[in-house]
Symmetry: C2
Subunit: 102 residues, 2 copies
Amino acid sequence: MATLVALYKKPADTAAFDSHYFAKHIPIAKKIPGLRGYEVSSGPVGTPAGESAFHLIALLRFDSLTAIQQALASPEGAATAADLVNFAQAGVDLLMFDTKEV
Amino acid sequence: MATLVALYKKPADTAAFDSHYFAKHIPIAKKIPGLRGYEVSSGPVGTPAGESAFHLIALLRFDSLTAIQQALASPEGAATAADLVNFAQAGVDLLMFDTKEV
């Protein structure tokens, strides 16, 4: 398996972010070819020391890193990326990697 | 479910990091009470633009954020944290949150 982690920094307007993310962004992202699972953080994203810099974290599952790269290059991936400007003005870090159970 | 994400920054000595992480750290961390699953990145951690700042990412699964907090406060959690100085000198960011499938 492989994972794409999206780390969304805290927005200026949390309610506007959440409204767009759940009503608009998720339905767009779920059309991405090869997507096998999609989890999001629920409630605060913390650290052992307290608050983190992030408002929401998404974990998207694919079969492989190659599948993630193909997904991002697809029209549906481009549409998902193009939607970020509508709610993720504070910034988002994307990390992608193959994973193995240990 | 809930997830603890450990993001390990690129070490000065990758081979020493990997050797310690897989031979020593994983067996210590697997003793943490309440741990339900443990995945690590395999190969490079990338971004859509290319290389990331991270060498390895671990995803640890628990039943809830409360379970993660209890795990970190346990003797086994303390032993896992105490081992970080032995290989993660470049730094590690820990993020923890409840998750839901969407």
